[in-house]
Symmetry: C2
Subunit: 193 residues, 2 copies
Amino acid sequence: MNICSYTYEEFLNLVRSFHGHVAPGVIIGGFMVDLALATLQAEEPAGAICETSSCLPDAIQLLTPCTIGNGRLKVVNIGRFALAVWAKNQGKAIRVFLDPAKLAAWPAINAWFLKLKPKKEQDSKAMKKEIKEAGSQICSLHHVKLNPAFVTGESHVLYGICPTCKELYPTVHGVRCLACQGKAPYIKSPTKD
Amino acid sequence: MNICSYTYEEFLNLVRSFHGHVAPGVIIGGFMVDLALATLQAEEPAGAICETSSCLPDAIQLLTPCTIGNGRLKVVNIGRFALAVWAKNQGKAIRVFLDPAKLAAWPAINAWFLKLKPKKEQDSKAMKKEIKEAGSQICSLHHVKLNPAFVTGESHVLYGICPTCKELYPTVHGVRCLACQGKAPYIKSPTKD
């Protein structure tokens, strides 16, 4: 049993090294990516969308050339455990999702994902066994047509110096940067050393 | 010259393998992460914020335990080439940013980042030489106080089945999932095979 070009064990090691621990969601994500790529009739995906920010983006980043930093992976966090991949010059994408109708047959995975039991009462050993055995059997796939608004990157960003913080920012954001428009993730504008 | 625990060449190879090509932004990002971690008085960062979705998130994911999928890296895309990292139980973070005042001394990097010349006329060899020589000399750092709203994860998401698409979704989103509320990144709701 392989996950893309890796053996199951090799993939677990990759996940441990990148994600920090062998999270069930990343392993399931590995099987989802594997299914999506096997269905996609192309050497590699040109891009990917992930519908959750939890676990699944790391499986995509580990198994495809699509990363957050190269812009080929977009996280559109609408909370479904699903991904879509597409090939170059194809308007259609393959979407793979965790299918609740199929999940019901795997009680330990089901209990974990749906939080049916408190964490302490969940059988982690049984869950890991089920994840390996189930593979992509808990997923379904279909074709979707991409909304270009979510796919097109910021192609030609021009920078200027913000008159307030004196840092570089995309001038398309306005006369000053978004941080100085109140969108900074910090409490009040920092005082520079 | 090292970038965190890697030699410069080792880091370039990592970047090539993960990001797909040796992008100047990821190399500069590597020096920025290195500077941030050297300043952070902790074994490893508990979390990170990246203020751009371009290049820099991959340097953070390669050099710290913070990834998109494990929730320890948040991209707050306000367009500044900057990152912040923090240690556990510290309200303050170290923020490192590309400093335009310092960038001016490095003409090839400056021309590339600010797109002062058409791509064809840029001297890519000179730029790579400058990037290696400059290291983190083109950056500045200061302390910032984090806004908890951007740092706290989705801790205990409860899932239900969406009555429209029959998929699992966080019930906190409403009576149906965000995709079925019109937020899907696809053109019209997909027909399932």
